[in-house]
Symmetry: C2
Subunit: 489 residues, 2 copies
């Protein structure tokens, strides 16, 4: 702005806006993120002004910002869909793989008027939803139906939409794990609902205990809270664990018995790094238990932002909505209409991640090489970083089984806690700020995700390019030593 | 879905969801839209099952669904940004224009890590906001600042965001023109605010009278409504008028005097078809009156969906926010963060519409030929259709000065009104359903946009391909004659 206006004569002030907006913390892009942006600007304006030469954004699951390259086949198809006028040119055969050209033609045939620049149906292009349903069936071995699929601008928009639908007042409760992905807290606050936390068991590898769910549900109900939804993120964010199927069956039973909607955030379904565990969708688990459409309400979220593709900036994904009556589904459709439709690029990309190249396609081998290269690099990164964190004084870190994060616990000395209190900061926030200022490494403080009171953590992504990990580990280790030397009791 | 679930055992029913969602009508994609979709499916499944062979979606401003081709330069840049790996290949020089290649390189340089698949800053990529600010300055002749720009997923998302920020309760009033673009009504209902209508004067070419604003403001205030925002869509939707600058100055003065935020929906700024009128942004008008940052709060909306580009499906645009204090702007930023960011394709396209090819660029001539071809075709279409509507018995239609619509008035015979009442439909809705069933032409009934009680209208887009307009006109004319013959009093 030209000159920041003094608000004296302006109608809108911080005191007369929607108080629900004020209540949201927007932790994922909060103060420490702003500090990182400020440091980055200083580095740009004045290289050498800090002891590091770049900010390493390890706070978020944003792979391409850390150098990951997009999957070639997916981008070829997107480029051709954007500019289909060149499909018949001979140069196009040289520049693009034959299956990308073929897939583009197929997708264009699925789009009314072949118009990639027209509003689509609000729930998404029918032909793409057909492809996605087929992909879900192949994954789960149970039927999936295009009419259950709503395409979305990333999982965040689906969370927003479903909580807006289900929250009527602050007596409506939404159960979320602690530690949690902080956007859930924000959307609950924005829509004026009540957060019912349940704690994951760090000592049991961030285990999700049914007894804990029952305890917290009972406590909320005794306060008059009408608990409506259980949110489960699997693989876990920020905690990186992968649920056992047995555990998932118990969760499904719990939702069925207690009449809760199961909001299954399954955006990390391609991100599992340990051989002893495997992703199973909650819908698959519930169908294999014999629960059908009439028995349980499940909303399954998937996104193009995660997995091996990491296309965060394209904003796409789907929600599969099962076990809702026709008139409720119409209200979900209505909420989808407010966007008019989701961006078509994201819609196309969502269909691609659910139907990647197959044996015999020209791109098949290079696609799988790219995919496996990325996923095995993530697996190695998770292991290297977990081991490095476990070597730090007072730090313990559970295994990174899946998703894109580690969530180490730091036992902070009393002196550090006092130093944080002196500047009115949470102790882990203070630790993370010191880390950022000393090394340029940005991680997310546990106080933004919630944690057992009196414990301190941070979320760190496993996504940095492998060639950069040794330097990150050594900078982190050096920082931690100095920090402990300064504050050790 | 497999089998529509009976809701007996499911937790969520139509009776226990957010009542604000229930209240929304989602008129833009309401029942008549569903009827059109149903007819289209019937035509696909059983060609020849109706007396027409396609549905003509004339209810909405969705140019590419009606056959408009995207602007080549814009799509070349998008395609290259999606797949920059081919930028250095010699075949690329043959397939893409040199300025598209050059522009792509410039845009990639503006994106951190050159990553078109990474989350960006929540307000949008800084370099693209710089470009947009420069474009606004060139348009207005007054300074524009990148920090005032928030990139959005289409204007609908900005309307949602600003009304969510400003509405605290049903005592907060939002002034909207009647007839209005129905998404405003829906968002006011969704966020629990109060709609303060003001009527446009059909006899004065859909004129916006300050006396009417004052009257309605006074009436609302006397009911205890805290009126906060005046929404003005210019060029008008659904009414297609373009405001005179003198009128705009009076509107600015009114907002200043009454302490209202001016929400200027300026998405049709490129769509003006009469030589005697010219688009002027409200920010330009207010600056030219000497009102600065400290005097008036203006939110200006622009979109990639309209203009000559019509890229509805890409979901992009910007809002320029001026006259808000720093702490209020931080709350707007917070709301932007809930999306994480807008889709990068839409962000790039927004920068392109604000900085199209210039004299000397390879694409310059073909770009301007495409642009002028589209806009002059719109102008001719508006004139042809306006004249045709004015020839129909009992129909009058104001001039289509701008935007993408005509909003003719139909004087319906009493017998038709009774027939509508018999099936519990609004008379204009009944007329539009009869039209759709007889001709495949979908228009939007005036009862969804609001109108002076006892008058009946419909919104019809001027966008059909020019070679199709004669057939549309003749089908419409034939239908109208038959309708009048059936129902004439």
């Amino acid at each position: 702005m030209a000159s920041p206006p003094s608000d004296s004569s302006l109608p809108i002030t911080i005191h007369n806006i929607n108080p629900k907006v004020l209540k949201c913390r927007c932790a994922i892009r909060g103060e420490i993120f702003s500090l990182a942006m400020k440091l980055q600007q200083e580095l740009q304006a004045n290289p050498g002004s800090h002891s590091f030469d770049e900010i390493l954004y390890c706070h978020a699951g944003n792979p391409q910002s850390l150098g990951q390259q997009p999957i070639t086949f997916f981008r070829e198809v997107l480029a051709l869909c954007d500019h289909p006028g060149i499909l018949d040119r001979s140069e196009t055969q040289d520049l693009y793989s034959s299956d990308a050209i073929e897939r583009t033609r197929k997708i264009l045939d699925q789009i009314p008027a072949r118009a990639t620049g027209a509003y689509s149906q609000s729930e998404g292009i029918k032909g793409l939803r057909d492809t996605i349903a087929t992909g879900i069936e192949a994954r789960d071995g149970f039927p999936a139906h295009p009419n259950d699929i709503f395409l979305i601008n990333g999982a965040s928009s689906a969370i927003d939409m479903m909580l807006q639908l289900l929250i009527r007042s602050e007596s409506d409760g939404i159960m979320c794990a602690i530690p949690m992905f902080p956007l859930y807290t924000d959307f609950i606050a924005l829509h004026g609902g009540y957060l019912v936390p349940y704690y994951l068991d760090e000592a049991a590898g961030w285990g999700l205990e049914i007894s804990e769910l029952q305890k917290q549900l009972g406590a909320a109900r005794s306060k008059g809270i009408n608990v409506r939804v259980l949110v489960v993120i699997n693989p876990g964010n920020p905690t990186g664990q992968v649920l056992y199927e047995e555990n998932q069956r118990d969760i499904v039973k719990f939702c069925k018995q207690e009449g809760l909607v199961l909001l299954a955030d399954e955006v990390y379904q391609e991100n599992v790094y340990v051989v002893e565990k495997k992703f199973q969708s909650f819908k698959k688990v519930s169908r294999s238990m014999g629960y059908g459409e009439n028995d349980i309400s499940i909303v399954s979220l998937h996104s193009i932002s995660k997995g091996y593709y990491g296309e965060c900036g394209k904003r796409g994904g789907y929600m599969e909505v099962t076990g809702f009556s026709a008139d409720v589904r119409e209200q979900i459709y209505k909420l989808a209409c407010f966007n008019l439709c989701c961006n078509i690029t994201g819609q196309i990309l969502t269909s691609l991640i659910m139907s990647p190249p197959k044996v015999g396609d020209e791109s098949y081998e290079s696609f799988w090489a790219e995919r496996d290269g990325i996923l095995s690099s993530f697996a190695r990164g998770a292991k290297t970083m977990e081991e490095a964190f476990n070597k730090l004084e007072g730090v313990t870190c559970n295994k990174g089984e899946g998703a894109m994060y580690l969530f180490p616990r730091v036992r902070l000395p009393l002196k550090a806690i006092k130093a944080a209190e002196a500047i009115n900061a949470a102790p882990d926030d203070y630790y993370c700020r010191c880390l950022l200022n000393a090394t340029g490494i940005l991680v997310l403080p546990g106080s933004t995700t919630g944690q057992v009171p009196g414990t301190w953590h941070f979320r760190c992504t496993i996504l940095p390019r492998e060639d950069k990990i040794p330097a990150i580990v050594s900078r982190f280790t050096e920082f931690h030593k100095k920090f402990m030397d300064e504050f050790r009791d």
